[in-house]
Every structure is written in structure tokens, then in C-alpha cells.
């Protein structure tokens, strides 16, 4: 096992990874921007290095700075967390070239899955169901119009290189296509992705269900159950739960088997997620994309399986044999506590004067902040993840209500009132909801 690991990330995920490193007796090294010097992840690491100014391009996304910090501290491996460098094959290669271990899949697997058009074609060839869509990059509105007519409206327009919902848009008819296409093109240019656009048939009443996979060193790919991520605003997840209340055991088995095939198709090693769209009425699914990293919502899987996914990532990256015999039990729900207003979901950074986390049976909080910290506008709005576990979904929902009520934050705007509202919404309570739920709550 490694003697030391550098965590190339910030906030709650850096803190969560550092927790496991500390528990395993591995020297944990944090890197941070000037804006983040006071955050708990910096203090809780064995060592920390200031790598530059608040602007992530000059700190968290500066390859030379991160690698220099690894050299200066004698780190043996780098864990990228999610976002930032986590799906950056060039950085993964640079880490390996520097003689360090990259805690993640091979750069080749990242490249193959990072291009959504390539990933889609690869999955189709591996026998994983995909939605009707374009097999070649679409670069002009004329091509898009032609492709959409063939696929049939409504269509989802997205960037081949994008992630996190950025630039995604739905066109219900030809007159909405130009706007969605323009939005995706602008997002691609702005976030440095390729200009290639992908069009897919959009499923109206869909659930977003994903499968956690773990690729082992002997080549086996395990599927550790699913997470339902259908509570979304602006195509970004707000709440995730496992098991999914919207799929039958038969569909679950098919999805888990397909996810393992998807991982095997790219010789996947380590933790990854196969995202799917489920047609709730037809009880069928299609491949959406694969995320070649640890996912924000991984605690949901950890709570129902008892597996520490970060520890598994470390053991796999260190070349160890990992045996996991995980039978998911009970029910887990995660709420992303964002620094945003609970009505329109607009960002609301600010200084935290009160921060009191709930506790109690079945409650886990992964947070990036504490009282006295400032949530700045430079990074994403995730402040914490409030996770609850119960023997049944009803028990988890009941515990979640108490935990949300017991979470006190003053300073930044936050969406805890939205979480409380959701927990009393008949659709969520029944479990019979889809990705349109939040829009319906706010229409």
C-alpha cells in the first residue's frame, strides 16, 4: 500500500478521501488555493501545500503546480476526486510519467469514455442498449436538423466532451433545435471541450439510474448496485437514492449485467459509474454515459453495501487483490446541500456564521465547510452531502426529515428548505417520480 497520497481536489470530496487515507495510516497530502486555506480538508490532511490563487485555472487545474506539490511532499500517488483532473487523460499520463501512481482507470479508458460519441458507439458494439442518436460528431445546425428529423423529436442535444449537465438542452420540435444547438456549442467552446455535438432521442418520463462498478486487477468487473438520481435541476443531480424505487428486480439484474459488460469493454480498473436512462413506463433502459471516476453520490452505495469505495480504489491502484462480496441491504438517500436559493436554485455564496450538522442513527454528513468558513463564488456550490440510511425506504425518508430539520446553516443561501419540501412531496414520498419532478415542483 502507498505510504503517501496527494489529493488533487478541494471541499467535501478532498475531506472524504483524506478521512479514509488517515484511517488507513497513509500520509495524506492536501493541495489548496489561497481561497480555501481555512477549509477543514486542509487542516485534516497530514500535510498541505498552497498551490496558487482562487481561480481554479491557476491552482486546482494547474498541472505543473499539482505535480510540483507531489514532488515536494514525496507523494507516491494522486487521487483526483471528481471534477477537476478526474477525467483528464493528459493529466493521468503526466502523473504516470512523473513516476507516480494515478488512482483511477487507465488514461485509455478515460479517453474512450470521455468522448460521448465514441462511448456510445463502443457500448452499442458491446451489447449495451443505447438510445437512437448520432454516431458521428454533428458540427453544423444543418446536420443537426437532418439528424433530429431522422431520430425523431424530442431530442437531447449535448456536447461530446462535456459533463455535469453543462450545455445540455432538449428540443421538442425543429424550432427549438437552433437554441439547444447554440447553447451546446457555446458551452463546448467555453469549457474547452471539442466542438462535436451529439443528438439523442429524449425520453420524456425518464428516471436517471446509474450503476456503480469496480474493475479489479484480475480483470473482473463488479456491479455494486444502482443509484437513482432522478431528482435534478438544470440536468444536475440534487438527491440520489439506492435502491431505485422505480425499477423491478428483473430490470435491475439486466442493468447490472450491462454495466459490468460496459466496464469490461474498456478493461476498466477502479471505481466507475455507468449512467443509464430508464423508461419508467416501459421498464427498459439505455446507456447514457460512463463516468470514469469516483462519483459525488458514492456514499449512497457505501451505505447500502458497507464498502468503502475510496479504500477499494486505493487497494486496486496499489495492485492488491480485492475481494468484495457486497449484498446491498436497506435503503440510503443523499441530499446535496448546495449554496443556492431554494426557489430558483441560483448561487448564493457567503460567509458561514452558523453550521450545525445533524447526527443520529443512520445519518452521515460529508461536508466541506464549517462555521467561520466562506463559501466563495470560484467553485461549485456543493457545501455538503447529507446522507441517511434506514432498513426500509420509509425509515430512510423519516430519518431524512429529522436530519434536514436538524441541519442549521446561516450565511450562504442554501437548499435545505427545498430538501424538506421534497420529503413531503407525494411523488417523492411514493417513489414514483422522474427527472421532471423538480420542474413540476417549481412550475
Amino acid at each position: 500500500m502507498f505510504e503517501s497520497v496527494l489529493v488533487a481536489n478541494r471541499g467535501e470530496i478532498a475531506r472524504r478521501i483524506i478521512r479514509t487515507l488517515n484511517e488507513m495510516g497513509i500520509r495524506s497530502i492536501a493541495v489548496h488555493s489561497e481561497a480555501d486555506a481555512d477549509l477543514p480538508f486542509v487542516r485534516e490532511a497530514s500535510e498541505s501545500v498552497n498551490i496558487g490563487p482562487a481561480n481554479p485555472a491557476h491552482s486546482y487545474l494547474d498541472q505543473a503546480q499539482v505535480l510540483a506539490a507531489a514532488r515536494a511532499t514525496g507523494a507516491e500517488a494522486i487521487h483526483p476526486g471528481y471534477g477537476f483532473f478526474s477525467e483528464n487523460a493528459e493529466f493521468a499520463r503526466a502523473v504516470v510519467a512523473a513516476g507516480l501512481t494515478w488512482i483511477g482507470p487507465s488514461p485509455e479508458a478515460i479517453v474512450q469514455m470521455g468522448d460521448k460519441i465514441n462511448a456510445r458507439n463502443l457500448m452499442e458494439a458491446a451489447g449495451v442498449p443505447v438510445a437512437a442518436g448520432t454516431r458521428e460528431p454533428v458540427t453544423t445546425i444543418e446536420e443537426a436538423t437532418k439528424a433530429a428529423a431522422k431520430i425523431g423529436y424530442p431530442v437531447m442535444v449535448k456536447t461530446a466532451g462535456g459533463g455535469g449537465g453543462i450545455g445540455m438542452g432538449v428540443a421538442h420540435a425543429e424550432d427549438g433545435l437552433a437554441k439547444a444547438f447554440d447553447q451546446a456549442t457555446r458551452a463546448a467552446a467555453r469549457f474547452g471541450g471539442t466542438a462535436a455535438i451529439l443528438l439523442e432521442r429524449y425520453i420524456e418520463r425518464a428516471r436517471h439510474v446509474e450503476v456503480q462498478i469496480l474493475g479489479l486487477n484480475d480483470g473482473r468487473v463488479l456491479a455494486l448496485g444502482e443509484r437513482d438520481c432522478s431528482v435534478q435541476r438544470r440536468h444536475q443531480k440534487v438527491v440520489e437514492e439506492s435502491p431505485s424505487p422505480g425499477i423491478t428486480p428483473e430490470l435491475r439484474d439486466r442493468m447490472l449485467a450491462a454495466a459490468a459488460r460496459a466496464g469490461a469493454a474498456v478493461n476498466y480498473r477502479g471505481a466507475g459509474t455507468v449512467e443509464c436512462l430508464v423508461d419508467a413506463d416501459a421498464q427498459d433502459f439505455v446507456f447514457l454515459e460512463m463516468n470514469t471516476r469516483l462519483q459525488v453520490e458514492h456514499p449512497v452505495t457505501e451505505l447500502v453495501t458497507g464498502v468503502d469505495l475510496v479504500a477499494a480504489q486505493l487497494r486496486i491502484a496499489a495492485g492488491e487483490d480485492v475481494e468484495i462480496d457486497a449484498v446491498p441491504r436497506g435503503h440510503a438517500i443523499e441530499f446535496r446541500v448546495y449554496a443556492e436559493d431554494p426557489k430558483r436554485f441560483l448561487p448564493g455564496p457567503g460567509h458561514i456564521t452558523v453550521w450545525v450538522e445533524p447526527s443520529g442513527e443512520g445519518v452521515r454528513v460529508d461536508s466541506g465547510y464549517e462555521a467561520g468558513n466562506t463559501v466563495t463564488p470560484f467553485y461549485d456550490p456543493l457545501m455538503a452531502k447529507l446522507c441517511v440510511y434506514g432498513a426500509t425506504r420509509a425509515e430512510a425518508v423519516e430519518r431524512a426529515r429529522a436530519a434536514v430539520a436538524g441541519f442549521a446553516i446561516t450565511g450562504p443561501k442554501h437548499n435545505l428548505p427545498f430538501c424538506a419540501e421534497l420529503l413531503d412531496h407525494p411523488e417523492f414520498v411514493s417513489g414514483d417520480y422522474d427527472t421532471g419532478l423538480v420542474s413540476r415542483m417549481r412550475s
Binding site: I166, A339, E340, L346, P347, G348, P349, G350, T376, P377, F378, Y379, D380, P381, K413
Partner: protein, 69 residues
Amino acid sequence: MAEIRAEMVANVWKVVVAEGETVSEGDTLVILESMKMEIPVIAEDDGVVQLKVAEGDVVQEGDLIAVIG
């Protein structure tokens, strides 16, 4: 006359209109960026724009972005 103010701490990513331009209610004046999100700032009235920010500026909650008169 309408005063358009920032709703949150943000970076002025793009100024869409020109100083002195005549705008209509609903037009996008500037685009702010905060927490990896673009937030369009919309004209709340018809009139001539007086800009109070430039691209790259950091605005605090309540700061004046533009006056429409």
C-alpha cells in the same frame, strides 16, 4: 428609471449591451458567473442603459450593475 443590482457575489463574465444602448424589458444586459453557473442579468424596464460594471469585475450582492433610464 430602473436600477439593476447583483443578486449574489459574482464575476462579470460578459457585458452584452453597449453603454448608451436602448434596450427593452427582458433584454440580457450582462452575464454574471458564480459557482460555475452563468446568470443572465435582464433589463427590468425599457430605456437607455448606463453600465456600472465591466467584464472581469467582481460584484457583491446588491451592487449596482446598470441603470436604465
